[in-house]
């Protein structure tokens, strides 16, 4: 599904180039649940943004579903966002002026899905996430965990093939975080490809594969062993 070949990301000033990512080679198959880990400043978010087509690589080749998307113009990238990619953010990024229902409905509007079907899809998600009672509330009336739940609901309502999550539990209590991670696991089991960035080893255990990033380079790339003992800290 995703193939990154020698991806570089750097910022040029007069005489120097500061590399954020260097020579990234990564292949992610459909149905994987990949966790990107690494210390602050390692380039995790940048990598995720490049995968999510929110940022462009300075060099290298990116094939998304066999298409060379690094050549794509904004309009075509928008199409991919609309139909194939969902985002979950650390800070939830719900639209303050829209209710829970309307927030979840928005991606469907952009997809051009007609009224009746749209209603049905939103209702189904609300039901599945157990937030039917909250559908008319505004984001500021919800707890962080509830907001993130809505964030995930919004990300997957359009049934994307790829879900990208940048520290989805970073602002949550561990209990709330667990709920989100369980949800991710469930979605992955249903066939959705998920890539998450996290600092938490615990969260990483929910995935199937861990990519360690240090100083913009991949240091290790291993499968997660089942029934791995829990680490602390």
């Amino acid at each position: 599904m995703i193939q990154l070949n020698n991806i570089d990301k750097y910022y040029s000033s007069k005489f120097t180039r500061t590399f954020v990512l260097k020579g990234i080679k990564l292949e992610i198959k459909s149905g994987e649940f990949v966790t990107i880990m690494g210390p602050s400043g390692a380039g995790k978010s940048t990598l995720l943004n490049i995968i999510g087509l929110l940022d462009q690589p300075s060099a290298g080749e990116y094939l998304f579903m066999e298409e060379p998307v690094h050549h794509f113009k904004e309009r075509k990238r928008s199409e991919l966002h609309k139909h194939h990619i969902g985002f979950v953010f650390q800070a939830y990024h719900l639209i303050d002026e829209l209710t829970v229902y309307e927030n979840i409905e928005t991606p469907l509007l952009y997809k051009g899905i007609k009224g009746k079907q749209r209603k049905a899809m939103v209702a189904e998600i609300l039901d599945r996430f157990n937030i039917v009672a909250k559908k008319d509330l505004f984001p500021e009336q919800l707890s962080g965990g509830q907001q993130q739940l809505v964030g995930v609901a919004r990300a997957i309502v359009g049934q994307p093939k790829l879900l990208l999550a940048d520290e989805p539990t970073g602002n949550l209590h561990s209990k709330q975080g667990q709920v989100i991670m369980e949800l991710f696991k469930e979605l992955n089991a249903e066939g959705m490809t998920i890539i998450q960035v996290t600092h938490s080893d615990e969260n990483a255990q929910y995935g199937s594969r861990i990519v360690q990033l240090v100083d913009g380079m991949i240091r290790s790339d291993q499968a997660v062993l089942p029934a791995h003992p829990k680490h602390e800290g």
Binding site: H83, H93, E105, T106
Partner: protein, 793 residues
């Protein structure tokens, strides 16, 4: 999708009520002002277009050149219409209109003075489109004693419009028969009337064709498929044919006349000639007002642009999120445009209400009867809505592009910096707003200053405490004068052909003997009695006033200084001047006095002694300052005694003089009001901008205060930036206002000089207003409790 746009637009607007309110109020003021001005402009442009033949009606005008003195005249003599009708095939038919003296009707022993009367040819109602309510338009004016009343006059005289055909009325001693009732002439006609009659039989017909000017407005209807281009030349040829002498005149006397065919629709805005039926307006005012309307709406739109871009950080995250969901820039632009259109349409509807509210005062100011009748003209409502949408798009376009340009990665990273290019652009717009405001203040000040100057300028004669009366005395004139003179509060009484504040061109040629052979000059003429010069304290530079002691003073002449210069006379008291084949002895020279508005240079003038009371149209009474009402009552009583059939009309000379500047005073007031509005709207924008920036810097202000900053220093910090912008605006406004006002002042021969302090005052006013506006908000921010602001972060 549109529903979702509207929902979020509405919630955003509601959430930030303060900013929405300032935007909406500013825009609605802009809309209201523009709407009123648009109505004014539409009305000005609609003049005379209601006539069915409007496109093919022309007026014959004349341009005389007397030895270099050019005068343009809106009228011709009585005869031209008759001959060009026959001689020029492109002319289908002609029509003459002449403004008569205001008549007085006597009805059941009641006097109705001041009836606006015109005399016309009998095809009047077929030529122009003034519909008749009663009577037959083809025959109504066939009889010399028939008259047509307007609806208004019919109701005044008979209390009804029906069933009055055939009734008689007495007007100035003659009995007329009512043969028609016409609708009141619409206000957007270039002449008005209350009563129409046929031309009086010409007893003293001017046979001399050289006298092509006259007091008759001549119109012609162009035949179908003809062009008016050659008609002026053809009229001149006809003129030469009927009066071969005119060619000789032209050769000998350095005199020339040209004719013009002026389209009917151009008369109201493009014609400032002598002998106009009514004072016309000027396309200049149409332009000026349109520009002001545009400026106010631009200033109001700028407020929207500024606030939207300033608050962009609030929306940046939303833009980012929406982009990750696959919204292209186009959809986002639509979303933000929906928001600006919503604001603008709400403002437009409010503006419509405001305009209706202020329509009456504006009408009074502009001397119009504008109406906003939405039921009658639903198109107006549609247009206002469309304007609302249009302005919404224009004002929303930049913010929409600006906001949707954000890259999602940066926008989502959280802390989004407002500043950089956006800030410079905002500053430029604020500078623009204040440049316009300052320039408008300067313009208003100069207009007022010039009017002040004009009204207080020494005119060369004493125009205060003079009562003007129409001379209706005629045969009883002497007796009236003698009686009035005896009243202790009357200081002097005089008579003249025209009032000294407005002596218009008489177009009477004056031939000077002893100078070059056959040289002809055009001078203004005034007929006076013995008391005229002393009554007005007009000083003599040389010689003496007319005096009853000299029997042949009827052949004496007094010149003004300008006339001696024009005629190039070195020893005036020795000069003899020939006029109408008679020689006049110059007996005196008066100092120049302003006998026209200060738009005009003092022209050459010759003064003759009237030969009978019929030479005088005006009686001028110099009265004592105290007990003016008593004196007026006395004059009225005396008037009734000697002229019981004429209504008593009086006016004060100084007021008549001021009315010469009516259009400028009107302009000054309208300028003043719209300038005030422009500044108000600009300040509204400033209030919300400062409020927002102060809100953004709450934390910085808190820290500064904790570190020991005083309130003053915080206020200075917040206000300083804006004051700097206003200073830059001052630099931009000064040359542009100077240029525009210099041009306007060129229209006055006697004018004030532009002074540096006018610009200084305008700039200081703007700074003061801006400072007050800004410091209010800054003070609020500066006085806030730092603990609160720091905790909230």
């Amino acid at each position: 999708m549109i529903k979702s746009y509207l929902t979020i637009a509405y919630r955003n607007l509601w959430k930030y009520k303060f900013y929405t309110l300032t935007n909406v109020i500013g825009l609605s003021i802009g809309f209201a002002a523009s709407l009123l001005i648009t109505l004014y402009v539409i009305d000005e442009l609609s003049y005379d277009r209601f006539h069915g033949n409007a496109d093919s009606i022309y007026r014959v005008t004349t341009k005389f050149n007397f030895n270099g003195t050019i005068s343009q005249c809106a009228s011709t003599n009585y005869h031209i219409a008759e001959v060009i009708d026959v001689e020029i095939p492109e002319i289908q038919t002609t029509l003459r209109v002449q403004k008569m003296w205001d008549h007085t009707i006597r009805q059941h022993d009641r006097l109705f003075p001041g009836i606006e009367t015109i005399a016309v040819d009998s095809n009047f109602f077929n030529f122009f489109t003034f519909p008749l309510i009663e009577g037959n338009p083809n025959t109504a004016l066939d009889d010399p004693n028939s008259i047509v009343l307007t609806e208004k006059l019919a109701i005044l005289l008979f209390n009804k419009t029906e069933g009055i055909l055939g009734k008689t009325i007495e007007m100035d001693g003659i009995i007329y028969q009512v043969t028609g009732v016409a609708g009141n002439p619409p206000s957007n006609a270039h002449f008005h009337f209350e009563l129409i009659k046929q031309f009086e039989p010409r007893t003293r017909q001017v046979v001399n064709w050289g006298d092509v000017n006259g007091t008759v407005s001549t119109y012609f209807l162009l035949a179908d498929n003809s062009s008016a281009i050659d008609i002026p030349q053809k009229i001149k040829e006809v003129c030469l044919k009927y009066n071969p002498n005119i060619e000789e005149w032209i050769d000998l006397q350095k005199f020339d006349v040209d004719f013009f065919a002026q389209p009917l629709k151009d008369i109201h805005l493009h014609s400032q000639m002598e002998m106009e039926l009514e004072a016309n307006s000027d396309i200049k005012y149409v332009y000026t007002f349109s520009i002001i309307a545009l400026l106010i709406i631009i200033i109001a739109s700028i407020n929207y642009v500024n606030m939207s871009t300033a608050r962009s950080s609030n929306r940046a995250r939303e833009v980012g999120v929406r982009k990750t969901m696959g919204s292209g820039q186009g959809l986002l632009i639509n979303q933000f445009l929906t928001e600006s259109i919503l604001v603008s349409v709400i403002a437009a509807l409010l503006g419509l209400g405001l305009a209706e509210l202020f329509r009456h005062p504006f009408n009074q100011l502009a001397n119009k009867q504008l109406s906003l009748n939405l039921l009658e003209h639903p198109i107006t409502g549609m247009l206002v809505l469309m304007a609302g949408v249009g302005i919404g798009i224009l004002a929303g376009l930049y913010p929409a592009f600006y906001l949707t340009r954000f890259r999602p990665v940066q926008a989502l990273r959280g802390k989004f910096k407002t500043g950089g290019a956006g800030k410079n652009f905002r500053n430029a717009l604020v500078i623009f707003q204040f440049s316009v405001s300052i320039a408008l203040i300067v313009c208003t000040m100069v207009v007022y200053y010039q009017l002040q100057f004009v009204q207080s300028k020494n005119l060369g004669y004493n125009h205060e405490n003079v009562v003007l009366l129409n001379n209706a005395m005629k045969n009883h004139y002497e007796a009236f004068v003698n009686e009035v003179k005896r009243y202790p509060k009357v200081k002097n009484i005089a008579a003249s052909s025209q009032s000294p504040h407005l002596i218009t061109n008489s177009q009477g040629g004056l031939l000077v003997r002893g100078q070059e052979e056959n040289e002809l000059f055009e001078l203004n003429r005034l007929l006076v009695d013995y008391e005229f010069l002393p009554t007005f304290d007009i000083p003599l530079k040389l010689g003496r006033n007319f005096s009853p002691e000299f029997a042949n003073d009827t052949l004496a002449m007094i010149l003004n200084v300008a006339a001696t210069k024009k005629l190039n006379i070195e020893a005036p008291l020795q000069a003899q001047i020939q006029r109408n084949n008679q020689n006049y002895q110059v007996i005196g020279v008066v100092e120049d006095f302003h006998f026209q508005s200060l738009h005009h240079q003092i022209a050459p003038l010759f003064i003759l002694l009237g030969t009978s009371a019929y030479d005088y149209n005006n009686i001028e009474v110099r009265i004592s300052e105290d007990d003016v009402p008593g004196t007026i009552a006395f004059l009225e009583k005396t008037w009734k005694k000697f002229a019981p059939n004429s209504p008593f009309y009086f006016s004060f000379l100084d007021q008549n003089y001021q009315s010469l500047y009516q259009s400028e005073m009107r302009l000054g007031k309208i300028y003043g009001i719209f300038t005030g509005l422009a500044i108000l709207v600009a300040c509204l924008g400033l209030v919300s901008l400062v409020a927002f920036l102060a809100e953004q810097r709450t934390k910085e202000i808190g820290i500064r205060k904790v570190l020991g900053a005083s309130i003053t220093s915080v206020v200075t910090l917040l206000s300083g930036d804006f004051i700097r912008l206003v200073l830059i605006a001052m630099l931009i406004a000064t040359p542009s206002a100077w240029y525009v006002m210099n041009k306007w002042l060129q229209g006055f021969v006697y004018r004030v000089e532009l002074q540096w302090w006018m610009f200084a005052i305008a700039g200081l006013t703007a700074i003061l207003v801006a400072a007050l506006t800004v410091s209010g908000q800054s003070l609020k921010a500066a006085m806030a409790d730092p603990v609160k602001s720091l905790r909230s972060e």
